[in-house]
Symmetry: D2
Subunit: 143 residues, 4 copies
């Protein structure tokens, strides 16, 4: 994991607060931020019946969307207020089916420069690794 | 694109029918299958206001979920009834922001063996390329 | 593929010339540029016995190195003299083993902006698709 | 990292021995296995002048080939004798240029089933992270 990252606790706190009023995709899928640490974001979501496919497994698109959501979010407490992060690319491996319980996810900043961050994500469900991902965010100063 | 793929028109037709009764994630995000051809799946979705982030761009997680959805779906008309396809991994590049209109997507089977398929996806919105993706589905015979 | 790319024929010609004096990795692996078109690079390499593993298949690392080499090279004729391209990330699927003959590769620019390009690569050997790749180059003006 | 992996010390020892007689790509690029642990492979390589591009940075293809090499190799001590591992796909991010010194790499098995393994790779050079990768190996029993 990246060393010596700047970490703004007040931005992390603001994200935790704002998360309770999430709308749109994060609200529908039930993504909940549970904590920040320097270089880390912790989040989770419940596996609701309507997110399962007819076969009984959670739609892989939920996991993919969760990855995208975490990629951007983990960057914010490591940048001054007003900066923004945009996911430009990522890759994920779905390593086991998900059908019940809670998905717990951790995002880790591997490398962060002024303009870019490389991030990894790990998810587990019912004691098994269900997703490993890796991707890039573009970081931008306010205009 | 893969050559000489077997193509079951009746399975394609059944998917087109069933798609109108989609529930869960595909229904919430409004993924609509618009057609199949040998080796190809065409689909689209509308950019609804509730899918935008506070910055005004569509949440990247919607595009990621759409990729996952297409990866599995494109395989079905190329396998006998009862077989299933599970996405095991994919990678996507988000190449332009999306804020309105319709996202049109094409999935192309690049290579298909008995047990695996490699697929590419291209999406465009308002005349611009917005996503390029590539991934793998595992193919399984009925038990 | 990307539309309306600027294409400098004289830079393409210079790369074709310089390629015959390649040293280091490209020389050892025998990468040969065979042509440029707007948005496209064509190249090939021979499968030499010393590049096979004990099992008799070409080392996957050769294909991976070939991808990286093409990612950067395809960009040059689309930028003014003095600009450079650096691969920042890519993903590849190895879709069939390689054991003899020639590997023919095509790189296609999917999207190119002032600062970045997304590129796809396809390789075939003995009539089969052996590799599909997708990645990003960072583009930089001369200092 | 994966828990409860079977680990055959004698296979690890055999790989360490055989590595000294490597030929072809691994020999040319100077990949040296320095150790195995359950779920881990450690390796390194020297940055030789002939591996640099005209700009003075090591060719990205060397790093890509090193990833591919480690992906397969890390699996062997975790499978019975006679089994083999084939890389089917991976993704890498090149996070800093390399121009001198030694590249130290670690491969970590994230998930391993009977037929597949998901692996991550981290490389550092001169105190900086230079590559993060993630990919899949197919595992096969002897015929």
């Amino acid at each position: 994991m990246a060393q010596n990252l700047t970490f703004y606790q007040e931005i992390a706190d603001a994200f935790l607060q704002a998360d309770q009023m999430a709308t749109g995709l994060p609200q529908y899928l039930g993504f909940r931020i549970t904590g920040f640490e320097p270089g880390k974001l912790f989040a989770e979501m419940e596996v609701r019946p309507e997110l399962l496919t007819p076969i009984g497994n959670m739609h892989g698109g939920v996991v993919a969307a969760f990855c995208d959501h975490m990629l951007g979010t983990v960057c914010y407490p490591h940048m001054p207020t007003g900066y923004w992060a945009a996911t430009t690319e990522f890759k994920l491996n779905l390593t086991a089916p998900i059908s019940r319980g809670v998905v717990k996810a951790v995002a880790s900043v591997m490398v962060m420069t002024r303009s870019t961050a490389v991030i990894r994500i790990d998810m587990e469900n019912e004691g098994r690794a269900v997703c490993c991902a890796q991707g890039t965010c573009l970081l931008r100063a306010p205009k």
